[in-house]
Symmetry: C2
Subunit: 309 residues, 2 copies
């Protein structure tokens, strides 16, 4: 049975797209309930200046809380070296830095070109390497806009592969491929995963971060699975939608992804009935916020679990 | 480049789940516009008694209209021999009869057990065979609830394979596999398509009818594509939703399916920009009716078409 890790990114990627601030207590309840349902990795927030993203102001406190949950890998996003310093001080298990494959998007988003981003990755890798081994976090570079960019359009696969190699050479432990804009299709996912894994080594690319903007999110997961990907980011309720397409879905939905993987016979460690109940915590903390997903509306198939066991 | 047929079933499967009757003129406009956008096969209605489904009352008139559109294959659903007689009289190019793999569902839905259904299929096949070759329609059996049933739960794959063989032996030209209830997952689709094709011959199973009830519709398409399936049913705007799960999506959405296939480099013959505009006809004819799909909200990716050409 294939063991697949669903990495919940809602408390970070979902909430950063919602203008309201979800109270710290609700985020703690969400994280605790999702971990109790069997989710083994949660990206709890990002270390960005609070004046830019007030929703992420108490990420350090959340890391501390989440580290108290046994068996949970606590991930955070860091935009730069300074963020990485905060993440390490807070004791996060995993750091991800987004590295936009579209230089136009990178300049607009973090005012850094590709060379400057690689310098930043190098500096973070050095900081990580300087930590005592027992506390050293896992450092991953998320290759964002890897499947296309709303400003540049198509993104060259050669460029993605080249920058994946450069990220590893700069000291990242792993790269992930991110479909930030919901442009990816299953054929492209297979091709780019295969090419990147060939270039950096299969053990250096295990993660896909997919969006469901055009409804292809789970189709792209199937393509990734077939290429050996073992970690998929997802957001409970697809929280946050898609910032590039108002009204459109953003991250793939944790509930639907978990249902699909379990139905296929993969082992996610997740108890689906319990997972579906976690959604209420978000609905109560952010009333009126659109939530996505099909399985929560339709329910599990009759006899599910017994039938597929 | 793989040529894939998208068979539009909205005027039948979509409209039969909507209680209002869409005016004949609007259905004609829909069919004409979708054919003009490049859709090559449309199931325009079903031949069921008008007292049971008033929405399908003028299917014969629609068949006549649709046959006037050059290059369009005109399909209809028939529940029994009597329906097949009407379909042949109207001159439909293709007849499908649903054959529920769940005997409980079959008894409840059409008051026939499996043996009675096979008799019906045999009678229709004989009628079809008796037509002059030039007018002889294509006769397909749609194996419904093949991936699970809301009354029986799991449906045995052995049984589906056995009834697929029996349908061909009874004289059907082809069988299709239908996920009537939205229970299918990609691993199951691959397995059941492969097993059925092995049993009946690959040329006898080319069609999947998938629902998106739990969000897995396009993921299941990917699995079908990889097993050599070349025809996928879909409904514009996912019209009709899912009768088993109020508020949940039903048929996979033509717009998202066409976008995915074209993005993957398959040849559907469809002009996506034109297809997306057809949706307006339904929205105007059935105001307030929920329509589904992601690509219509998000739009096509920047540079799409030039980038993937």
């Amino acid at each position: 049975m294939t063991r697949i890790l669903i990495s919940e990114v809602g408390p970070r990627d979902g909430l950063q797209s919602v203008s309201r601030v979800m109270p710290l207590q609700a985020r703690q309840a969400w994280i605790a309930a999702e971990a109790a349902a069997g989710v083994r990795e949660i990206e709890v927030g990002s270390f960005v200046p609070a004046r830019l993203l007030p929703q992420m102001a108490d990420t350090a406190a959340l890391v501390g809380f989440a580290k108290g949950i046994e068996g949970l890998a606590v991930a955070v996003l860091v935009p730069n070296l300074r963020g990485a310093e905060h993440a390490i001080a807070a004791g996060a298990h995993k750091l991800s830095i987004p590295f936009s494959m579209s230089e136009t998007h990178s300049l607009k988003n973090v005012r850094k070109d590709h060379a400057a981003m690689l310098d930043e990755i190098r500096a973070i890798a050095a900081l990580v390497a300087a930590q005592p081994e027992a506390q050293r976090p896992h450092f991953e570079v998320g290759l964002s806009t890897a499947f296309g960019c709303t400003m540049e359009g198509a993104v060259s696969e050669d460029k993605v592969v080249r920058l994946a190699v450069a990220s590893i050479e700069a000291g990242a432990r792993e790269v992930g491929l991110s479909d930030t804009t919901g442009y990816a299709n299953p054929a492209q996912v297979r091709r780019l995963v295969r090419r990147t894994r060939t270039a950096v080594g299969a053990e250096r690319l295990n993660t896909l971060h997919l969006h469901n903007t055009r409804g292809l999110g789970l189709a792209n997961v199937v393509a990734g699975l077939e290429e050996g990907i073992t970690t998929f980011d997802a957001s409970l309720g697809g929280l946050g939608g898609c910032p590039f397409a108002p009204g459109a879905s953003g991250n793939i939905v944790t509930e639907d992804l978990a249902f699909m993987l379990e139905a296929m016979g993969c082992e996610t460690g997740i108890d689906l009935e319990r997972l579906l109940k976690v959604r209420r915590i978000i609905a109560e903390a952010l009333p009126g916020e659109p939530l996505y997903g099909f399985t929560p509306d339709a329910g599990l198939p009759l006899g599910f679990g017994s039938a597929t066991a």
